[in-house]
Symmetry: C3
Subunit: 314 residues, 3 copies
């Protein structure tokens, strides 16, 4: 069994910016240990809640599964009927759940850095995992991406990773380019030039997708988030045109090196970012990413539980 | 304790058409065994999800209860906030949940035979129970009806069973007439003549409700599904007129044989299909049907778990 | 550990009017015992459902947490997709869940005394806890208020308790004034005079909030329920004006006796009933009330389980 050298313990897990390279690797290794069957013992029955003020079944379900696999009880929370609709602040909602007995929670919200007010509130002492903040970060997605790459290559040093697509609106892009740099990988970018700007220059170089196909170890496609684009921008692309110009086509797949892998945070717009028949090809790690997401979230929630003194270490 | 001779094991349970008479009886007997207290041991913690894209609290809750009674963890899934709303196919949603660790699921959807695409997808290998497909089938309802009749009479041979009401729109009617024939019962039909057509001739004879009341062992009333009828059709009936012409009235109840029973898939429109005061009369098995539904669904989900190698048989 | 002298056992817990002073105290002491770590053993796996036809995450979550802490399995119920939308009566929904195997439930509904039809239905035999009925009662809120006061003062005799705010629309006000009288406390009222009427005269005296601040042991503020007021009434107040005239301000807090406490059923409209910075001051018991809510609801659900013969007493 793969073991981390010392147990991870965090008050909150909010941003990849807070994590040094060795901390990222500690999360990856802890997640691998969970994948290999590691279990933790709780010191008492413990309770999780998932506050998803922005929809995301996939991330929500993955956190819930992680919590259940850690032996937590998951308390149902439906934002649609919550007191937030009576004008209650998120901090008061969190404190109410804390008072009721919730020990750890995952939160997703459409406001960037929604968590600042929560962690600065001295009456909040439960552990919070950021499940995505607006156009900000999505640390559990970054960690599962890193885990999937590490599982494949065993190292980040010198690895060539392309991030392709809607860079300007993607939480995943920004978190991953920083983390990959920290870990020693080389980052490249692809996709529509108008979605690439000088914020990205410090992290990597833009290249045409054909060239990326030739040279990369990892082709990481981003979802074209229709809902984040205004209609006038959007009508520049049809699905077929986007796929032909910036997406993965059978021709580009044929140009990829044999060991190279395809990633995507999902859900994939089949036929847009990736040709339908390639989504589950042998080089695709897309469903493996989802599977790894559960183990990464186990590592995150376990680190919060450990900080709360709820893990019995022996 | 009632035991089945060999353990049921199915990749999926989708349609009554797939089941021979002895298989139906094996499900009924397994359900009776669960009702009598039978328990199964899982080889590891296992996870169920219920994807109800069409509303049905009753069936949904019954599946959930069955899953919990089998010792499964039930992962929350809310179709209203799922990625299906981002254009994801049902197959991709199912594969995402599978990747996350779901082992078995019940699905209800408004599209007939929605499951064909799922079972033909070679990347889907979890077990699926059909919780109802459009105007197609509703196998767990059929099995609970068979269980309830078998509990009452101990045999199907020569039993006279009437199916009364909205035959043309009812999943229950079509599944049950076939299964009852297979099992050796005689099927009769009642209700508005316009809802009876030559598709039903091969399975049984239409009769006036008064005559059915005189002769039947089982009076199975179907829900008048207002939502499936267009307004012009609908206005032909008032509740009182439907009950007087086609429903169970005290006068018809008085004509029924003493041993005859009343069934209904529920929810009953009280005063329409069945007079209010008769819904829970001594001859009614309506709430017993609901109770049996849990045990039948335990048998179904256990058969999927067994196929997945998740049941420890000793 | 604090122990009740004899185990509480009730068919249903619906109204504070049904409870004598010693029964209220028995619930308070049982709740304190649960808070101190008391656990119950169930005679078999038992199932709870929470039917919240009117939104209230806080009460809903608190009941769910209580049920989980008692070792119950909580069956998901979403009224938005239930058969109630197909015209099913609440009694039939309850009987369906009972048939499926639910042993105890908490119900909230917007109709006053919705529960009368349920408890008069001889086919309903599961245990029901009232989670709030329209403008009627909210017994678990009253009991948690009593528990919080008793924890603080150890006695009700001669205690001066003010209930301040929207008396005419508040379930909490009416239940609490009666119970506090029964328990020997003196009740006073405050807030807009137009919300005070002669129904309240028998229970206590109205005073200006400044005078209440000087004299009370407990200052219990009620939520200004915007949604229950018509717009024309509502526009008489701005938040600032309400706070200045009837709410807790720093000046009024300064007038309070050192031992006096602040209560509120939550969610607080910060800056309306209570100045933002006072919601979590040292004298506030608002979040302690929420914490106590779980233990009170454990006592309630345990009393229902005991009546059902589901608690193993030794």
């Amino acid at each position: 069994m793969i073991e981390t050298t010392k147990p991870l313990s965090y008050a909150n897990v909010l941003s990849m910016k807070d994590l040094e390279a060795d901390e990222v690797m500690a999360f990856v290794r802890e997640a691998q240990a969970f994948k290999a069957g590691k279990q933790i013992q709780l010191t008492r029955p413990a309770y999780a809640a998932n506050l998803f003020f922005e929809n995301s079944t996939r991330t929500h379900t993955s956190f819930e599964m992680a919590e259940r696999k850690l032996g937590l009880q998951v308390v149902d929370f439906n934002p649609a009927v919550s007191s937030v609709n009576k004008g209650e602040t998120m901090a008061d909602t969190v404190k109410a759940l804390q008072a009721i007995g919730v020990d750890v929670m995952a939160i997703r919200d459409r406001h960037n850095e929604y968590y600042t007010k929560l962690v600065n509130d001295r009456h909040i002492h439960l552990g919070i995992a950021n499940g995505g903040d607006g156009s900000g970060e999505h640390p559990s997605q970054s960690l599962l991406d890193m885990m999937t790459i590490y599982e494949e290559f065993g190292s980040f040093a010198g690895l060539k990773v392309a991030i392709i697509g809607d860079l300007s609106h993607s939480r995943v892009a920004r978190s991953n380019m920083e983390v990959l740099n920290k870990l020693g990988a080389q980052v490249f970018f692809g996709g529509p030039k108008k979605w690439f700007d000088d914020r990205f220059d410090a992290y990597g170089t833009w290249m045409p997708v054909d060239d990326l196909a030739d040279q990369m170890d990892v082709m990481m496609f981003l979802r074209v988030q229709h809902e984040r684009l205004d209609a006038s921008e959007n009508k520049h692309f049809t699905a077929a045109k986007y796929n032909a110009e910036y997406g993965l086509t059978p021709a580009r797949k044929a140009r990829m090196q044999e060991h190279a892998i395809i990633m995507h945070p999902a859900p994939v717009n089949r036929g847009v970012e990736i040709a339908d028949e390639l989504v589950e090809c042998d080089s695709s790690r897309i469903f493996q990413q989802m599977a790894n997401g559960v183990y990464v979230r186990m590592a995150i929630m376990a680190s919060l539980l450990r900080y709360q003194g709820l893990v019995d270490e022996d």
